[in-house]
C-alpha cells in the first residue's frame, strides 16, 4: 500500500539529500574528503564515491520499503509476525498463510534489509523481545527505573563516565536528553543482570538501539533479548569468556571458510584475528561499520542469530583477500581492515559476500565449535588468574 508512506514520521525520508556532485569533480575526487551526515545522522568522513554510494543506498532503502509495503498490502499488516515453525505457538494473528512459505520469503527479505521505519516493529517481534516483555508485568521497566533511582554502583559510575563518550557529536545521542535515555537503559540493565552489570561496548549497542526503536523501553527489551537470547552467553561478563570463545571459533572458521592461504599468511605475520574482531563482536560492528550497514547486519542478527556475526566478519576478510595477502606487517593488515569497514557504505556489498560467498553455517555446527573451544578458554583464563594472584602474594 503505497499510501502508507505518507504516514512515515521519521526524519529519514525528509532529510535533505546529499548534493550529488557534478561529474567534473570526479577527476579530483581521490583527494576530496567531505564530511556528511548518514541516514542515522552520524557525521562521517568520506570521498565523493562514498557520498554517491550513500545516495544510492537511500534510494535502495526506499525501494525496499515499497517491497515491504506491497507485501503488507497482499498478506496483511503483520504477516511477518507469524510464529516461526519451530515455535509453533499460535499468535493472535488473524491471518493464516503458509507459514513455511512466509518464513522463506521473510528470510530473503530480511537479508535484503528491513526498511528503517519498520525496524522497530519487526525487530521487536522477530527477536523475541516482545515475547520476553509479555512475560513480566506491564510496569516492569518503570518499576525497575524507580527501584534503581539514586543508587550508585561501580556499574553506574562507569556508565556515567561513558555517556558523553558514546558517539560524541551525534545530534541526539550527545544531548542531555540522549544521555539520560542511554543512562536509564544501561543502568536498568545493569540491575537486571548483575553478572553483566555494565560492560564497555554495550554503550554503543544500546545507543544504536535507542536510535532505531520507537521507545526507550523497547530499546531496553531489545538489549535484554540480545544479551539473554541472541548472543552467546558470557560475552560481556567479568572476564569476557564468551567473547574469547567466539574469537577462537572465528579463527577456526577463517581457516576453513576463506582460502587457507589467508589464514596461513596472517599467522606468519603474527596477526591474531581477535586484534580486530574483538571490537566487532562486542560492539556488534557499531563502532566499525557505517550506521545503515551495521543495522542491516542487525536485521539479520535478530532473525537468524549470532552466527551472522561470523558471516559478516568472514566477509570482511574475504572481500580484501588479495590486498591482505600482499601485507608484510600486522599494522598494514589492520589498516586495510579498518579502512574497509569504515567505507562499507553499501550494505549489500558486504551482505552479498557474507551470505552468498561464505557458504552456509548452521547454528548447530557453531554451537559444537563453541563447545570444543570452551574448556581451553576457561583453562587459559583460570591459569592467567592464578599467575596474577601468585604475583600479588610474592609482592607481600
Amino acid at each position: 500500500m503505497y499510501g502508507t508512506q505518507s504516514k512515515r514520521d521519521l526524519a529519514l525520508e525528509f532529510q535533505s539529500q546529499i548534493p550529488i556532485l557534478r561529474p567534473s569533480i570526479h577527476s579530483r575526487r581521490a583527494n576530496l574528503t567531505v564530511k556528511f551526515q548518514d541516514l542515522y545522522m552520524f557525521t562521517v568522513e568520506g570521498n565523493v564515491d562514498d557520498v554517491n554510494v550513500l545516495n544510492e543506498v537511500r534510494e535502495k532503502v526506499r525501494k525496499q520499503g515499497r517491497v515491504w509495503w506491497a507485501l503488507e498490502a497482499n498478506k496483511g499488516a503483520n504477516w511477518y509476525l507469524e510464529p516461526s515453525i519451530s515455535e509453533g505457538i499460535a499468535l493472535k494473528s488473524s491471518l493464516k498463510f503458509s507459514t513455511l512459505a512466509n518464513a522463506i520469503t521473510l528470510k530473503r527479505l530480511i537479508r535484503k534489509g528491513i526498511p528503517p521505519l519498520l525496524r522497530p516493529k519487526v525487530w521487536f517481534s522477530l527477536s523475541g523481545a516482545a515475547k520476553k516483555k509479555s512475560t513480566v508485568p506491564e510496569s516492569y521497566y518503570d518499576d525497575l527505573l524507580k527501584a534503581v533511582e539514586g543508587k550508585v554502583t561501580p556499574a553506574t559510575r562507569q556508565i556515567d563516565h561513558d555517556l558523553p563518550r558514546t558517539f560524541p557529536g551525534h545530534p541526539w545521542l550527545d544531548t542531555p536528553e540522549g544521555h539520560a535515555a542511554l543512562r536509564r537503559v544501561l543502568v536498568g540493565y545493569s540491575f537486571r543482570d548483575s553478572d553483566v552489570g555494565y560492560c564497555q561496548g554495550l554503550n554503543y549497542v544500546a545507543a544504536l538501539l535507542l536510535l532505531v526503536m520507537k521507545t526507550e523501553e523497547d530499546a531496553f527489551w531489545m538489549l535484554a533479548v540480545l544479551l539473554e537470547n541472541v548472543l552467546v552467553n558470557d560475552c560481556y561478563t567479568t572476564n569476557l569468556s564468551g567473547c574469547h570463545v567466539e574469537q577462537r571459533v572465528f579463527k577456526d572458521l577463517l581457516a576453513k571458510k576463506c582460502p587457507s592461504r589467508i589464514a596461513t599468511h596472517l599467522e606468519a605475520l603474527d596477526f591474531d584475528v581477535s586484534l580486530v574482531a574483538t571490537e566487532w563482536f562486542l560492539c556488534l560492528f557499531s563502532k566499525s561499520l557505517p550506521s545503515e550497514t551495521t543495522l542491516r547486519v542487525w536485521d539479520v542478527l535478530f532473525y537468524e542469530g549470532a552466527k551472522v556475526l561470523f558471516h559478516v566478519a568472514l566477509a570482511i576478510f574475504k572481500m580484501k583477500e588479495d590486498e591482505l595477502l600482499l601485507t608484510h606487517h600486522v599494522g598494514d593488515v589492520i589498516n586495510i581492515l579498518q579502512k574497509t569497514t569504515h567505507h562499507l557504505f553499501d550494505p549489500d556489498e558486504l551482505l552479498t559476500v557474507a551470505f552468498d560467498k561464505i557458504g552456509s553455517m548452521t547454528t548447530n555446527t557453531i554451537s559444537k565449535q563453541r563447545k570444543i573451544q570452551e574448556p581451553a578458554v576457561m583453562a587459559e583464563l583460570d591459569q592467567r588468574l592464578r599467575r596474577l594472584n601468585s604475583l600479588k602474594l610474592e609482592d607481600k
Binding site: C199, Q200, L240, S274, L275, L282, H329, L388
Partner: protein, 200 residues
C-alpha cells in the same frame, strides 16, 4: 642491510592503564596532534602508527591503545605480547588509577618482554588543583621499578611527544652504543633481533 646512519625500526608499543586515565587522548595527541574533551571509549583496543626520527634512526611505532575497563584485562596479553615498549598511564587526579598502574607494571615485569622499555605517564597534569598523586611519589616508584616517569597532559600537549621520543631513544637498537650484527629484519618488531638489555 641496515647501516649505522640509516636504521628503520618497527616498535610495538602498548598503552595500559585505568579507565579514563587518558590513554586514547595521549595517542590522539601524539598521532594527530588533536585533543577532544570526550574521547570515545575504546573497546578491545585501537591501533595507530606514527614515525619518529631519533639518533639517526627512524622508529615506526605500532601503537596498541587498550580498553581500560577491568574486564578487558583478560585481553591485554595479546596486546603486550612481543611489545618493545609500554606506556602505563594514570590520572594524577585519581589515586585508584595510580594503584592500577602499579599492578600493570607488576604484570608486565613478570609476563612481558624482559627488554621492554616502560614509561609511567601521570596524565592530566593540567589539572593541578585536583592533584591526588604527588609527582615525587610516582617518580620514586618509577625509579624503584626501572621505569621512567613523566607527567603529561594530552589536553595541553605537555610532554606528550617527549614521552614517545624518550621511549624511542631507549629502544635497544636505537642506542648509539648498540651494534646490531647481521641482517635487520625490517618486518619484525624490534625486540626480536635485539639482544642487549635496554633498561637496568
Amino acid at each position: 642491510m641496515a647501516t649505522s646512519g640509516n636504521k628503520n625500526i618497527n616498535a610495538k608499543l602498548v598503552l595500559l592503564g585505568d579507565v579514563g586515565a587518558g590513554k586514547s587522548s595521549l595517542v590522539l595527541r601524539f598521532v594527530k596532534g588533536q585533543f577532544v574533551e570526550f574521547q570515545e571509549s575504546t573497546i578491545g583496543a585501537a591501533f595507530f602508527s606514527q614515525t619518529l626520527a631519533v639518533n639517526d634512526a627512524t622508529v615506526k611505532f605500532e601503537i596498541w591503545d587498550t580498553a581500560g575497563q577491568e574486564r578487558y584485562h583478560s585481553l591485554a596479553p595479546m596486546y603486550y605480547r612481543g611489545a618493545a615498549a609500554a606506556i602505563i598511564v594514570f590520572d594524577i587526579t585519581n589515586q585508584a588509577s595510580f594503584e592500577r598502574a602499579k599492578k600493570w607494571v607488576q604484570e608486565l615485569q613478570s609476563q612481558g618482554n624482559p627488554n621492554m622499555v616502560m614509561a609511567l605517564a601521570g596524565n592530566k597534569a593540567d589539572l593541578l588543583e585536583a592533584r591526588k598523586v604527588a609527582a615525587e611519589e610516582a617518580q620514586t616508584y618509577a625509579q624503584e621499578n626501572g621505569l621512567f616517569f613523566m607527567e603529561t597532559s594530552a589536553k595541553t600537549a605537555t610532554n606528550v611527544n617527549d614521552i614517545f621520543y624518550e621511549i624511542a631513544k631507549r629502544l635497544p637498537r636505537v642506542q648509539p652504543a648498540q651494534n646490531p650484527s647481521g641482517m635487520v629484519l625490517m618486518d619484525r618488531p624490534a625486540e626480536r633481533v635485539a639482544s642487549a638489555s635496554c633498561c637496568s
